[in-house]
Assembly symmetry: C2
Homo-oligomer: 321 residues x 2
Amino acid sequence: MAEIIHRNEIEQILPRINLLSLMEQGFAAYSRGEVTVPPPGELLFDDPPGDVHIKYGYIHNDDYYVIKVASGFYRNPEAGLPSSQGLMLLFSRHTGVLIAILLDEGRLTDVRTAAAGAVVAKHLAPNCVECIGIVGAGIQARLQLLHLLAVVEVNRALVWSPDETEFADYQAFFAKEDRDVQIEFTQELRDIPRACNLIVTATPSTQPLLMNADIRPGTHVTAVGADTPEKTEIESAVLARADILVVDSLSQSNSRGEVFRAAQSGAINRERVVELGHVITDPQLGRQNDEQITLADLTGVAVQDIQIAKAVYQEQMTLKG
Amino acid sequence: MAEIIHRNEIEQILPRINLLSLMEQGFAAYSRGEVTVPPPGELLFDDPPGDVHIKYGYIHNDDYYVIKVASGFYRNPEAGLPSSQGLMLLFSRHTGVLIAILLDEGRLTDVRTAAAGAVVAKHLAPNCVECIGIVGAGIQARLQLLHLLAVVEVNRALVWSPDETEFADYQAFFAKEDRDVQIEFTQELRDIPRACNLIVTATPSTQPLLMNADIRPGTHVTAVGADTPEKTEIESAVLARADILVVDSLSQSNSRGEVFRAAQSGAINRERVVELGHVITDPQLGRQNDEQITLADLTGVAVQDIQIAKAVYQEQMTLKG
């Protein structure tokens, strides 16, 4: 009988898992070619608007395969429901038997995405971070800051949103988390690159928000929001200027995200782009000094789902003895 | 909270569902273009060998979307496990919320596949069926005969298998089902087309088993086994000779199944091929007399999964009041 792990159990398990290390190992295995990850499945709805992504795959020589369903229905909050929904399924790779159902309602996707931002910062952020800049104030924009605080020594953050009403929720989220961080807010986009040299963008924007003219030398940018061909948050000139350009998945960057758009417009040469797993295993590919501009474009890879699903299941089994 | 429907509950619900009608409605909607069914996802393993198929989609103007995972790990019986495994997931198409998990372990895929064979026979079998011929003796070969007996007036069946040991299991299965049918067995393939004018092939063969020289006028053949580009059960000359050629999905027949192979070798012109949903809604496209040879090539369409998952969930809700 499959183990059914409910949302509240997942919440109790998450603090017991070393997400940073799990994601590093996953990205490294992926870039070594040790992970089979077919192109994600997709369903798009328009009334009400929603998109469903099915990501799946397995790590070679592992005992499992994993299927993850994650959706975003952006009008859900109007009905008091989270926009993120979904679940993860863990199967035996030897028999096909369903081993575990993780009823995470999209929570594990949110968390593994934020953990990838922390992995990137660990390898690409400048030595001295003055202030973390967060473009966006939704759930992912909160989790990104939360996970960055675990890997970066800094106690200041500046958060941008066009919607002032999100600021109180953002502040309340961190009040509960009890971190030593002073968060300020702005509705002026340029304030972010002026004040911050570690910036994460986490919005569903389809227009560039970070402009090349505003980016200072030494800045690192992680672009998390653009996961479709249409979405973009960064002016392509920033990618052209960056000394180091990193993606979580080279193959996915052929069809979505900032690198896809910049390559399509001719602003960058794809041969410059390095995969995150290679940066993790070879420090020579990471930041070399505090003057370089670095940029990482994350579209989300199924190996992250495989890693977190396995870890949650194994921890659940440990807890149950 | 999602409704979790276990295998034993599914078994109790299945006899309460009019599968034939559900499948007819599903195929008809599919052929009218009212169903969105992206290409299935696939994972292939080789040690031990196994294949995983992820089928998903939704019927327009419906309240649900469905994801189905079905796998075949053919060495499972050596470990006392069924080779078929899997589950179905029913989601709200309006919010993405997970509504139901059907822990069917591949059972609903087996059943909806057999029900499609009955739909085909209802529309294409000759008026007078002398004897039903079943090529193969595994679980699908049993279910096909079981479902055919509900739509065809005949009490004789001839079953072929290269493995004599399967005959006793086949006989035992029908002893439990208590149907008025006399089943005989053969290890000589030609006996099937000589004795039978309604034939179903349900094997994982990669070599033709039914040869053109043996097929008599007036015969109907339903090919169920070939669901990959490599598998085949029917000599392409049978397809070339058939008066009516039907597939469950024209788009899937571009890449898998008997029609795919026959078209690729130039034995048939794809323009002759008719979709099952059109045959259901327009009797002019079905069998016109008892001399015609008809052939239906089924590769399995997600609309079948959508229909059966919805029906099981709705019946479960009715039972629970």
